[in-house]
Symmetry: C3
Subunit: 371 residues, 3 copies
């Protein structure tokens, strides 16, 4: 088929990407290596494993990963397979474990929560075998503001380089001291980059999110230019609106360390590749994005609150959770329709409006240079 639409078009239009970056399963493997196996990725909150011996399981780029808190309180990360025969070591987050020990279900090789092999039945008499050679394979792990990040690469650069100026920018929010109040998981039939694109513009808000548009003006977005580490900006709250909730009001105290301006805006930042960070006057929302295939994505959404707020008698999170759960589902739906449309041979890159500028910037960062 000819490109007659393109041929008829004029002017310096910025255009949407080629479809193959969203529909090609081979390209998906390439970008998983580049953006998930060779980069720092977000995996969870430190408060999910408060005590020595606690652990969580995650999947990154298809790998099952075990994240533990050691007896020294340090958080560490390992590939979740036994070094004996390769068996999955911990089956699920519900698997009971003894204090700081993980025992393989097959031959009972046992590792402590620092990853050392401390028991290997039948190996004592094996010539050349030394327990210290067969610990769990470690993965680099760093923490900022209570967010745990992993890097599957050997000897990765420090996480700080990839946080850029976000810590400074968000220093008024006591994120490290905040705790998860609620979690909702989603399975979306769309490429992970469509989720980031969807998060990065509010041109769709009037048609897709009428309730959101009543709380925050869709045209109020003030974006920063995207960079290699993150993209985002802020939107203002309407007069009389205290936060993004079903009612527009909140019975939670606003975070006291925020400036007056920060109390009148919501801050939306995509930390690349997989953390969407939404800072509200009275809570923080995170989306953790886990690409499964080129057209399937698992998304874990969590709502964080101040410890003191959660401890107060009247605490509830439902007004924030219900509002964003509805909004999330609206976003996943149009993202899925876009994924379906991108697989058409009739798709041609379309024109971006000025209010989709962040998407164009993100395309330059996330996608290969076209010749």
């Amino acid at each position: 088929m000819s490109n007659h639409i393109l041929e008829n078009s004029h002017g310096p239009l910025k255009r949407t990407p080629q479809a193959r970056y969203f529909v090609d399963s081979e390209y998906f493997k390439t970008e998983m290596q580049q953006w998930f196996a060779d980069r720092w990725v977000y995996v969870g909150r430190a408060d999910e494993l408060p005590n020595p011996g606690d652990y969580i399981l995650r999947t990154i780029a298809g790998e099952s990963i075990l994240i533990t808190r050691g007896n020294d309180s340090k958080i560490r990360s390992f590939f979740n397979i036994c070094t004996h025969r390769g068996t999955v070591l911990v089956e699920s987050e519900n698997t009971p474990t003894r204090a700081c020990q993980f025992s393989c279900p097959y031959h009972s090789w046992t590792f402590d929560c620092q990853g050392h092999l401390i028991g290997a039945p039948g190996m004592k008499d094996v010539d050349g075998f030394r327990e210290q050679d067969w610990g769990l394979r470690p993965i680099d792990c760093e923490i900022w503001a209570g967010f745990i990040f992993l890097n599957l690469k050997q000897n990765p650069p420090p996480l700080a380089e990839f946080l850029a100026d976000l810590p400074e920018k968000f220093s008024n929010w006591p994120i490290e001291e905040m705790r998860i109040g609620e979690r909702v998981e989603y399975h979306v039939q769309a490429n992970w980059k469509l989720i980031i694109q969807n998060y990065s513009e509010c041109l769709h808000c009037p048609s897709v999110h009428p309730a959101l548009a009543r709380l925050s003006p869709p045209t109020s977005g003030e974006n920063e230019p995207a960079n290699l580490c993150y993209a985002g900006g802020r939107m203002s709250l309407n007069e009389g609106i205290a936060s993004m909730t079903t009612s527009g009001s909140t019975n939670r105290p606003l975070i006291s360390s925020l400036s007056e301006s920060q109390k009148r805006h919501v801050y939306y930042y995509s930390w690349l590749p997989n953390l969407l960070l939404s800072l509200h006057p009275d809570y923080v929302m995170t989306h953790r994005i886990e690409p499964l295939t080129n057209n399937q994505t698992r998304i874990v959404c969590e709502w964080l609150f101040e410890k003191s707020t959660m401890a107060s008698p009247g605490f509830q999170s439902e007004d924030a959770v219900a509002f964003w759960d509805m909004t999330n589902k609206q976003d996943w739906h149009v993202s899925e329709l876009t994924q379906r449309g991108l697989s058409s041979s009739a798709y041609r890159p379309g024109p971006y409006s000025n209010r989709e500028e962040l998407l164009y910037d993100l395309d330059q960062i996330l996608l290969p240079k076209e010749d």
Copy 2:
């Protein structure tokens, strides 16, 4: 394994095709391009969208297609994706639309039912953007006898060349004036060409269709030689049988314009690639064939009746529908068993009988020349 069966065989036997044309998913892509993307294909009846603003959705060669009736009453066809970000424009045939307008669920780009872009929020201030450049991508569309045909190719040859002499042959049936009385959809685990093969011989009728054999003699088939456009012929009705129904009788009037001979036969024609047209003395049955994969096919069967017949008080279609629904299912079952057997490494082309001559002819047309 050796071909010892073939080696032992003698004589000028006409043989069934190589298995790969039915089991190879790469070959399926090739033939989808040749027979569905580069040819006229049948997609539905004009009476499915009687009024301006009405629309239907179809899938051809994996593409979602929107077929509309414009304010000028003309039927048109478009790829069903928004020219902005590629989102699927109309989600399903149940999607409510405003009068002759299709609005994209993502950013509300709006198209009229002639395909023109008539609204694009946020695009007014974009340098170089002109609404007239971004209409829906059109697809060529022609109608014969109320049957709508599409061609995904740019500047295709006229449909008339592919109808050949069928319009003349069927001129005694008032097909254009007939209306859909019933529709049944099937999902068959067999290659689409096995469906056409099955339709093109009645050697299987005694074993597979004992009820059919009581209405119409399995050996009564008179076929024309197949050509590039169609293959078919006719079978006679037994003495005392009025039409193909559960009872063999019908309370519907026979179509008055038919000749006496036409009233005593049923005419079975495969219009290539995807319309099976079965003309009875009192109704017309169509099968629309939609290949999904090399071994999965969606089939939509419809029964058409004269408008006057449908308007009469005692009208019912059940005797025709139940008879062919039973017969269809018998055919799909043996087609599925054949699809399964063709995937065996032990399959070798077998001998056609003289009563499968049309299959051999169709093989020459539908399949590549073997060296």
Copy 3:
């Protein structure tokens, strides 16, 4: 990722195989050809088809296979497709057939239970067609001790070469005269070789099978060196334990022809590629292994008893069946966890203990030589 674990390791450790032999679907095709299409494989018991005209269906390397007992009482095997159009001839083991005749459901071509074509409607007048050219395609078939084996290869070497000295070794068990008392089928998400590995060591017994360890000492295994045809050995029964059952006792008579030593042991042999043979003092258990994909395996477990035992009034098999059904499921579970772990990029060949010596031997036989 670097191989730092391996680099730190010393000594003459025998190691587990590379993961690709278990997770690579291309390698699976290679080994299906080598071990299932070009070798003798076990398919069932002769007592499953006791009378002329009886038949069973099996799937080997994706091929549907028909095994029949002819009017001459001889057991034969054929590809289960009609030589006319390739249709699957017998749909399921529940398909009713006339005495020693198989009639194709499509065009009624009919074959006798020796594979000859004896009826082909509409073919009489076809020039060059001779019924004797179009019999079912035969497969070589041999029987030992009531076990039926097939070989898809043309002109295969005799089965006896692959049985090696097993017939002599097991001559005290009247296997040919024994009959199937119970059958249980399993679908396991693991490579077929992991099933054989699991069967070939009892290092896992203390952690995986506490009940088994109470009947038979996990360290009592005495293995023979593996050879190209089989691998196995025996384990002793604990004092006071009569057989492997839920209670450790049995009300079935011990097989009288066994030696005293044979009555105090259980014999576990893997006949390559797909028969696990477990000989007990009072019954024989078999596992038939049917690889479906690189990570899916169907397993049919059967319990054989002496005819006289089965005919006795108080006969029951539940104590043996329930014990091994529980044990089987424990084994499949750890095999599935190992399959999952082997797909990790972090997997490195681990060290075998001395009690896994048979696995190392089997690796040398089942897997290609690594350079």
